[in-house]
Amino acid sequence: MERRKFVKRSVLGSLSAALGMDIVYGIKMPEGYTPLVLQDPDPYTLFRKDKQMVLLNDRPWNMEAQAHLLDDPVTPEKFMFIRNNGLVPENIDVENWTLTIDGEAVRQKKVYSLSDLKSKFPVHTYQLTLECGGNGRNEFDPPAKGNQWTVGAVSCAEWTGIHLADLLEDVGMTTEAIYVGYHAADIHLSRDPNKEPISRGIPIAKAMQKETLLAFAMNGKDIPLVHGHPLRLVAGGWPASTSGKWLNRLSIRNQVHDGAKMTGTSYRVPCNTVAPGEKVKDEDMCIIESMPVKSLITHPKSGAVISNGKSLKIRGHAWAGELEVSKVEYSLDFGATWNACRTNPPANRLAWQRFEATVVFPKKGYYELWSRATDSSGMGQPMVLPGWNPKGYLNNACHRIAVKVS
């Protein structure tokens, strides 16, 4: 046996052992290639994430930021949360990547290459807030099933792409069109090729908004692999699961899209509010659309100890789904009194907004700094947990950080 093959076989042997399964056609793997799962078992290096990011799950990959990491006006890649339902696609061939448009309500099926999309339509850039529907799930009682996100499953990056509306116009929809459902190249956890990990979508009205993009770049560069390279739907202000990654097909539906994680209890809340722990039938669950108003204190990091008599400059971000944030306030006394923060307008619609304040503490002691945003319809954040729901979505309770004055 040649030495190379021999060594390769023994490496394959340990690979198989580590994976707990045989690598089919392993011996045909190209020289120097290792399966994605083991290319770099450290997700921080693999996905270029900051070491302070918190890993919730390694299969599928799920990782969140901490509040103080989200201080940049535009979220850099290293601080952007990862939410995957399946496995990251393994072989992305950008040259031959296509997007197929089909469905009951399409005039005729059409296929676009990536270069078609980039060259045929005007290109736009927006800062768009993407928050996981389950952000804040860890606070629900009784606990809700799923990744136990705390506060860090939110980002506001700069996305570049074409208006989905321009593409839909080019394809042509019939009057029956109701919903756009996405399909993508990710792999089901069971590796069953007939199953999609996730295939959600948006109603036509949301698809036609100018901020709804078919994006190919994030923060001025190709979209990172784990965030949907080479093509991603970006629907700001809605649960981030509507912003499908690794897109290869869009279906124009004559009904509400019924793909994976559109039905049952996924990304749905009870149509009518329920008591904590109450059972809810599937037919009484309604799809989440716009995310609720929320704010995050991104500076200082929780746990700051300051000297008595010194003022503290605080800042953060606030967002309100489809709406704009009209004001942000802070409280030092658990919500008994509130003080106004300076709040900036958004860079564009559906971008988060910066708020700032200078805080003076009356005396020594333990404090909790709370922030509360109110949207343009007058709806504010609750101080305790909002309505319980079986899957633990939409926790927009006031954000809190601890401060000690000594």
């Binding site: 340990s14 052992a17 390694d58 606990p143 929780s302 305790v384």
Partner: protein, 161 residues
């Protein structure tokens, strides 16, 4: 006579060739034997890492299911009755981290298992189902959090502007 000396010459040539072949065979055999007894090619390996091959930490074969301080090292699960039923049935598709993050009562675990069987290709667990759910509710019980818990795990630091 001429024929005889020619024959002798040819025979000698063949003899020499045979010797050469034998010599190479012995060398090859020695090489093969060396490979068999030193599969990692220990003394041939240079000290510089060979960039062609990715270093993969081979698990110590004997303790693939090693337990340290009551924790199953490969999955992070607590070592208790039913551990291996959970490892073998619940960590094939997703990581054990998805299991340990979740706190549910018996009823909700059964519902979750049913959902995984109906939609996620989970197989029939047979009598392991009871063992698995017992393990989960015993070792990862539901914690009461109320409507808003105290801030926990605060890391205090001197704030510098």
């Amino acid at each position: 006579m001429e024929d005889y000396s020619k024959f002798k010459q040819q025979a000698r040539a063949i003899y020499r060739m045979m010797l050469l072949v034998l010599f190479f065979m012995i060398i090859t055999a020695a090489g093969v034997l060396y490979l068999v007894y030193n599969p990692d090619l220990g003394s041939f390996r240079s000290t510089a890492p060979d960039s062609e091959y990715v270093e993969v930490e081979a698990p110590e074969e004997d303790d693939f299911d090693k337990i340290v301080d009551g924790i199953h090292q490969r999955t992070g699960l607590v070592d208790a009755e039913g551990l291996m039923a959970v490892v073998n049935n619940c960590t094939n598709c997703h990581s054990a981290q998805l299991v340990t993050q979740n706190r549910m009562n018996r009823e909700r675990w059964f519902t979750t298992i049913k959902w995984m069987q109906e939609t996620q290709n989970l197989w029939d667990l047979g009598k392991n189902e009871e063992i698995i759910v017992n393990y989960l509710v015993t070792n990862y019980p539901v914690e009461k959090k109320g409507r808003r818990a105290n801030l926990k795990d605060i890391q205090w630091y001197d704030y510098q502007e």
